[in-house]
């Protein structure tokens, strides 16, 4: 018996992601949860602009591709037409925390019964390593070549904490995928987020801290260390909203 098999909710297509990138792990976790909940045929996904733009080629479910940042609005349209379906968005930090802040905040505030997988790697990936709203102070990117400074570029946004203040949010957690223990925790959080939607409790979001070795200019192993040493202190892991129905 295979202990680990390819999830049915993933296609056979090989990843295009860079070595050491976390997207493959996160895609797999989402697909495993979809399999476990037996919702592959009743799920509609929305993919973003950015490195995950082609995730419609990976997730073996009905998928729509959204404009930059607009995935929560697209998902809202789908969910209102198909309230019995499970609808999720998969978004990066440039997508969700910058151009799409209005869409994510209002989908959350409306208590839209969708699930968002929010991948935070503190940088713009596909566009080539520019500063993101989540870029840490002092972090060097192509558009913050001297390191991000709070006096001119402001502070990184803590999305999970911010959304946890909204009444429409049922579940919000921040997880990481830098080691097997955290990967298991991340999967549990993703499962809870989907269960919140199934139970009609409101909006759910899982922020996943992720590595971007290519744009960080580090090796995959160095990237893991950088994430642990720099990202987790500023972006603490944990469940910021946890309804009793999924505990």
């Amino acid at each position: 018996m295979a202990v680990f098999a390819r999830p049915k909710a993933l296609t056979e297509k090989p990843w295009h992601f860079c070595p050491g990138c976390s997207h493959g792990i996160i895609h797999t976790l989402v697909a495993e949860v979809i399999d476990e909940l037996n919702i592959r045929e009743t799920t509609v996904g929305v993919c973003p602009v950015g490195c995950a733009v082609v995730s419609h080629e990976y997730f073996n479910v009905d998928m729509q591709q959204a404009a930059h940042g607009r995935a929560p609005a697209v998902a809202t349209g789908i969910k209102r037409v198909l309230p019995e379906r499970t609808v999720f968005t998969y978004q990066g930090d440039g997508d969700l925390a910058s151009i799409g802040t209005a869409e994510i905040i209002h989908a959350a505030a409306r208590g839209e019964k969708i699930t968002t997988i929010f991948v935070n790697n503190a940088i713009y990936g596909m566009t080539g390593g520019q500063m993101a709203p989540t870029t840490l102070l002092g972090q060097v990117t192509t558009t913050s070549p001297f390191g991000r400074r709070q006096d001119t570029q402001g502070y990184p946004i803590r999305v999970a904490e911010m959304l946890a203040t909204l009444e429409g949010v049922a579940y919000v957690a921040r997880v990481s995928v830098h080691n097997p223990k955290e990967i298991n925790r991340a999967k549990k959080a993703i499962r809870r987020a989907f269960e919140c939607q199934q139970k009609g409790l409101g909006f759910s979001l899982v922020e996943v801290l992720a590595c971007c070795p290519t744009n960080w200019g580090l090796s995959p192993k160095e990237s893991i260390n950088w994430l642990v040493e720099n990202m987790i202190p500023y972006y603490p892991l944990g469940e910021y909203r946890l309804p009793k129905e999924v505990q």
């Binding site: 592959r40 045929e41 509609v44 929305v46 073996n60 959204a66 609005a73 789908i78």
Partner: protein
């Protein structure tokens, strides 16, 4: 009914059950009407946080297979252009209503027609086209809205109803459609991959050749629209020597001016494009064979006149008269017709009927 509300009722009767919008003058009666009416017919009205969100909700709902509509007025339509380009790129059917006001920028809340370029030449990025329908009465608003949903489904493309603040606020007696709307199956919709291969809705093509192929295929669709969907109304055109061209509200006013001209014996006629894209150019070419001069009248500094000139193709002179966010009076247009008639008489002899 009031023009804006008539759009809503026609949409509901055409099977539209989803409306995503954002308030802006002078179209707010439409979302307000949908907010009252849609729940009663099992539909959903949702006031989005912005025009951008509204059009992207339309994208999601259209992809999920619904008949869906949004509406706005000029500055709001500018915000929707991103989503309109994506709808066209992903081949999703939706009806978009623009109740035009003056611009650019915040402009005014008075009726305008200065979004003609934006509506007919793209507006958003990329090579795409919308079918743009311009009603000139509340009854026609109803008829064209009803038809717009069928056209959107047929071509899998957004269709725009181009109204204006005057038509939106106007009340007229109407006959509402009672027949059941034709419903096309939508096997491409993302409704959950139950017992079928999964569906994907996207407009991104990594390779240039793939995108070109996609655009070439879309081009065939635009061509089919050009061949089948041109619409025009003619008034006193049988022997017209001075052809007034106008659409929407301006056409109603021009019609009266043309009638005044006929009363004083000037052979004037009115050509009213109903489809602004595809532009009904054959009717213009036909008219140009008999006419001496064209006069395009718009509530803009001159936008449709460019298409009129293209269609007339130098056969006869094309003049322009425009007001910006001010509704022209019949007398103003009549005066322009008389002036052109006098010039024609001076140069080429009588344009008056015997």
């Amino acid at each position: 009914m009031k023009g804006n509300e008539a759009i809503g009722e026609a949409a509901i009767r055409a099977g539209c059950r989803y409306f995503f919008g954002y308030p802006i003058t002078p179209q707010s009666e439409l979302p307000e009407y949908m907010a009252r009416r849609l729940p009663a017919v099992g539909g959903v009205f949702l006031q989005a946080e912005s025009e951008i969100a509204a059009i992207n909700m339309v994208y999601g709902a259209a992809g999920a297979g619904a008949r869906v509509m949004t509406s706005s007025s000029s500055p709001g339509i500018s915000l929707k252009q991103e989503g309109i380009s994506y709808l066209a790129g992903a081949e999703l059917p939706a009806v978009i209503v623009n109740v035009m006001r003056g611009g650019p920028g915040l402009g005014s809340i008075q009726p305008g027609q200065s979004d003609y370029f934006q509506a007919t030449k793209g507006g958003g990025h990329g090579d795409y086209r919308l079918i743009v329908l311009a009603p000139a009465s509340v009854q026609e608003i109803i008829d064209l809205t009803w038809e717009a949903f069928a056209l959107a489904d047929q071509y899998r493309n957004p269709v725009m109803i181009l109204s204006d603040g005057m038509l939106g606020q106007m009340m007229e007696p109407v006959v509402l459609p009672t027949q059941e709307p034709p419903v096309l199956p939508k096997p491409w919709a993302t409704t959950g991959a139950v017992n079928r291969e999964r569906n994907e809705i996207f407009s991104f093509f990594m390779q240039g050749e793939q995108l070109e192929e996609h655009n070439r295929r879309l081009e065939q669709k635009w061509q089919a629209m050009v061949e089948r969907e041109k619409r025009v109304a003619e008034f006193f055109m049988e022997d017209a020597e001075i052809v007034v061209v106008a659409y929407g509200t301006t056409a109603r006013i021009a019609r009266r001016a043309v009638r005044q001209a006929r009363q004083v014996g000037i052979k004037a006629g009115l050509l009213r494009p109903i489809s602004l894209w595809p532009f009904p150019d054959e009717a213009f070419q036909r008219a140009a064979r008999k006419a001496r001069v064209f006069l395009s009248v718009e509530m803009s500094l001159g936008q449709m006149v460019e298409d009129v000139r293209l269609a007339v193709n130098g056969q006869v002179p094309v003049h322009f008269y425009g007001r910006v966010s001010v509704v022209p009076s019949p007398d103003e247009i009549f005066a322009m017709i008389c002036q052109l008639a006098d010039e024609e008489v001076a140069v080429n002899g009588s344009v008056r009927s015997a």
